[in-house]
């Protein structure tokens, strides 16, 4: 398999997608950052993906893998073409890996990524994709050295700057909040106000009981996604977290409103239906809470998870609210120029 140098022709476009796993769906929009063409999750609601990087047909093969210099920069062996600073080392198989990640074929992506790295140790982009595959397999500890290596190479492959973001989530899932925070901040420093890292910093602030900061971060995340290409799903997540803050502050009425805003944007977020139900329980809206739990069940079914047992949500003393369809429109638009969802699609629950 040739080891090639590639002109950096691709412009990274933030990818917005749904999430495969429950834990991931609850927390991270990391996949919204990754490569075009459905990488990682295979669902898009963004206007335009970018073109894939091209592989110059004239790129010469590399005889042996690059070593790493004292500064962490890759040192290519003698005979290797030295590429301009905008270029980066690549391997065509990494496009396959990227597609596999997009199709949620994480095990296969890992196998191919490891094969590429075996031939070309230290190849930054391969390290990054392998780290991502492991992270998607929830093997966070294993993923981190690969993200670290991807950063350390200095290889300017398109996704490199986002390695901080993914390493941050891995650290979060390992319970290392200080490191996660540092990596998210590093990511923001590299790419500017990136909504998902801002959102993640809000999550950490919430976990550390700094509610004012958390609220500001979530609102900023919403504000940054107010344009026409905004990811409804990511905006919905931030609204849900604002609802968490309201619940934490014992304001279930405000939380109910925020959860409904979230669900109007992204009704498949079954966790938020559960939160909506709890807010309604605390407001004494028993029938509406039951209704929300019915919707949670439907949302679980829509995303392929097993349903909640019906007797958990239909207590003998309560009957489901006799209302019509409860699911908000899946693509409820944002009001023009606003970070709030338009009032009209907000479901009557």
């Amino acid at each position: 398999m040739p080891f090639t140098s590639t002109r950096r022709s691709a412009v990274l476009t933030p990818f917005r997608g749904t999430l495969g796993g429950a834990r991931c769906a609850a927390l991270c929009g990391l996949c919204s950052l990754l490569v075009a063409h459905g990488a990682v999750h295979g669902y898009q609601d963004i206007a335009k993906p970018s073109a894939p990087p091209t592989v110059p047909p004239t790129a010469p093969p590399v005889a042996s893998p690059p070593a790493t210099g004292p500064t962490g920069q890759p040192v290519l062996p003698p005979g290797t073409r030295v590429v301009p600073s905008e270029s980066y080392a690549d391997d065509p198989r990494l496009e396959v890996v990227r597609r596999m990640l997009g199709d949620q074929q994480y095990v296969q992506a890992r196998v191919v990524g490891e094969a590429v790295l075996k031939e070309h140790p230290g190849l930054g982009r391969a390290e990054f994709f392998l780290g991502l595959a492991l992270s998607k397999m929830k093997q966070y500890e294993q993923s981190r050295p690969h993200f670290e290596a991807a950063i350390k190479t200095g290889d300017p492959f398109p996704e490199r700057k986002h390695a901080h973001h993914f390493m941050a989530w891995a650290s979060y899932h390992l319970g290392e909040l200080d490191r996660a925070k540092a990596e998210f901040e590093a990511h923001v420093a590299l790419v500017g106000d990136e909504p998902d890292s801002i959102f993640a910093l809000g999550i950490i602030a919430f976990d550390e009981d700094r509610l004012d900061e958390a609220e500001a971060r979530f609102k900023k995340s919403i504000e940054l996604q107010s344009g026409p290409t905004a990811s409804k799903r990511d905006v919905a997540k931030a609204w849900a977290r604002l609802g968490d803050i309201s619940m934490r502050l014992d304001d279930p009425a405000k939380a109910e409103d925020q959860f409904m805003k979230s669900l109007a944007l992204y009704p498949d977020h079954y966790e938020v239906w559960s939160k909506l139900a709890r807010s309604r329980d605390r407001l004494g809206k028993a029938r509406e809470a039951v209704s929300a739990r019915e919707e949670e069940k439907k949302a679980r079914e829509r995303v392929g998870l097993r349903p909640t047992e019906s007797d958990d949500i239909k207590p003998a003393t309560l009957q489901p609210a006799p209302s019509g369809p409860q699911t908000p429109a899946p693509n409820a638009p944002l009001a023009p120029g606003s970070t709030s969802p338009a009032p009209s699609p907000t479901p009557k629950l």
């Binding site: 929830k138 093997q139 976990d207 966790e271």
Partner: protein, 559 residues
């Protein structure tokens, strides 16, 4: 002199506020908690088992009973249950194996156990939760036991295929005797073990998901130590069969009646709220109460249970331990009706992500007037490692000290180095009768460990800083002698005159497949004055004691 004072001050400040010493060897407690073979390959082999604290000889100290496990190829004939008599002197835990002379010969694979005076004869009996028919051992009163399982009604033939993991005695119908809640797990046939599952890309043992769950049982005591199965009539049987692992019985709602919290593995936890008394009825309300799942609405693999008033609103909050790559969960009891997951608020979330937690307890280890937290940990999968599963197989106990509004991890606990183990269970009590709470920890197929709390006063002349109160109902015919359901409140003033209110519950169940101590322990910060105790007995009767002296071990009786 001044220099000496400064040096002493520096030395003192360097010392951990919570200090333990592993005194296993000197304690004479030489036993292994057996549970299958190593490495574990099927789900019964990973649960470990529990202990019971029991004053079987009525000499005033707490002895130790271990049900013990067996192996899949011969689940009826394990190494056998053990009974250890507590012969401790002050500050020196000491145990003697008295299994042989006690008449206990129980070798069936067992997990949890419960202690209570089921026949109201003044001596505590033992229920053993088994893989197969459960067992009731009656205390004859002469430090020996007899197996009364058959006539008790607790070991009916139709239950021979049930796997009971934990149990608790409490007076569920308010008639003064002890009823039983038995927690069941799943249907496992050693002859036909399920195929392996996958976790984080690796082949691992199967379960619990994919294996049929078993429903729990509720038994009412007829008053003579025999029981009738009231699972269906009580409403408990209406709940979905679930993978139950632990139970806590106390009044969560504040209406004076016992409610039942069940920790389920990978499924929603139950909160059975008592709705009627004669006959007793319960309604499962965990989901609506907000205690069935975490704040994301996700089911967790709940195992350990700790109860404490963490937010100071005088209501019992619930802490559960869970699987790795998840968090332990603290549900604050907001108003008796609703709970809210506040794990992160108290700094208990991130710290537990790499751990798989089992037994846990809130205890004021350092006597500063608030409760600290100890969780014992260890993974179920022998393949577990930080690299493969983000979590090691052997794990350190998680010791957290309450500092202000949050809990903070303690990494230096004195002589006890918090070494990694495959821990499963623990019991917490003042074993050596020196006023602080010690710990006995059980490791999967490992030796029991006795961890002595070495709390000391700032100086020899300092006032005592603890109280231990055991409510005891000595009225004739009352089996609930330990007053399960009682609530004890200590009001005191600190050196600045600020009031400190601490509350403890006499509850049934325990840290993991074990029971809690009937002795309710309080610590008090230096300078505490004007201590008043208020005890609400299970029937609502209130008693008060004023100007209570600290450093006292009090048996608070009701005649």
């Amino acid at each position: 002199m001044t220099l000496l004072a400064i040096v002493a001050c520096v030395l003192t400040s360097d010392q951990p506020s919570i200090r333990f010493t592993d005194v296993t060897h000197a304690s004479g407690l030489d036993a292994v908690l057996s549970c299958g073979r190593m490495p574990s390959s099927q789900i019964p082999e990973v649960k470990g088992g529990g202990f019971s604290l029991i004053d079987f000889d009525n000499d005033g100290d707490l002895d130790l009973f271990m049900p013990n496990g067996a192996t899949l190829d011969d689940p009826e004939h394990g190494p056998g249950a053990r009974l250890f008599r507590n012969d401790s002197t002050t500050g020196t835990p000491l145990f003697k194996d008295v299994t042989a002379e006690s008449g206990i010969h129980h070798t069936r694979w067992s997990f949890g156990s419960a202690v209570g005076d089921v026949d109201a004869d003044g001596f505590d009996d033992i229920f053993i939760a088994c893989f197969g028919q459960d067992v009731l051992l009656r205390n004859r009163g002469d430090a020996t036991f007899e197996d009364v399982s058959a006539k008790s009604g607790l070991a009916a033939a139709e239950r021979s295929n049930e796997w009971t993991t934990a149990a608790a005695f409490a007076d569920l119908d308010g008639d003064g005797d002890l009823d039983l809640y038995a927690v069941n797990y799943l249907s496992f046939d050693p002859a036909h073990p399920p195929s392996p599952a996958r976790f984080k890309g690796l082949a691992v043992m199967a379960g619990p998901k994919g294996i049929p769950a078993q429903g729990d049982r509720l038994f009412l005591n007829r008053g003579d130590g025999t029981f009738v199965d009231a699972t269906q009539s009580s409403g408990v049987g209406k709940a979905n069969p679930s993978y139950g692992l632990n139970v806590a019985i106390l009044d969560f709602t504040g209406d004076g009646k016992p409610d039942i919290f069940v920790a389920n593995d990978s499924q929603k936890n139950f909160l059975f709220v008592k709705t009627g008394t004669n006959p007793p009825t319960f309604e499962e309300n965990g989901l609506r109460a907000g205690v069935a799942t975490n704040m994301e609405g996700l089911e967790q693999a709940s195992m350990g249970i700790a109860i404490g008033d963490i937010d100071g609103n005088s209501r019992p909050d619930v802490f559960t331990t869970n699987f790795s790559s998840d968090t332990n969960t603290l549900h604050l009891n907001l108003d008796g009706k609703y709970f809210d997951d506040r794990t992160a608020q108290f700094n208990l979330a991130a710290v537990s992500r790499s751990l798989l937690g089992w037994a846990a307890a809130f205890v004021d280890f350092d006597h500063d007037g608030d409760e600290d937290l100890l969780v014992v940990n260890g993974h179920v999968y022998p393949q577990a490692s930080r690299a493969a599963m983000d979590s090691e197989y052997a794990q350190r106990p998680l010791l957290m000290e309450r500092r202000g509004k949050r809990f903070e991890t303690v990494t230096d606990a004195g002589e006890w180095k918090l070494e990694p183990h495959r821990d499963r269970t623990a019991v917490f009590a003042d074993l050596d009768r020196d006023g602080d709470v010690d710990v006995i920890i059980g490791e999967l197929n490992g030796k029991l460990r006795v961890i002595r709390n070495d709390h000391t006063l700032p100086s020899a002349s300092a006032a005592k800083d603890w109280l231990i109160v055991e409510p005891r109902d000595l009225r004739k015919g009352v089996g609930n002698r330990h007053a399960v359901g009682a609530v004890l409140t200590a009001r005191s003033k600190d050196a600045a005159g600020k009031e400190l209110v601490q509350r403890r519950w006499a509850w049934a169940g325990g840290p993991f497949m074990s029971n809690v101590s009937p002795e309710l322990h309080f610590g008090f910060p230096a300078g505490t004055t004007e201590v008043t105790l208020e005890l609400v007995w299970p029937d609502g009767t209130k008693d008060t004691k004023e100007r209570v002296a600290l450093g006292e071990r009090m048996l608070w009786t009701r005649q």
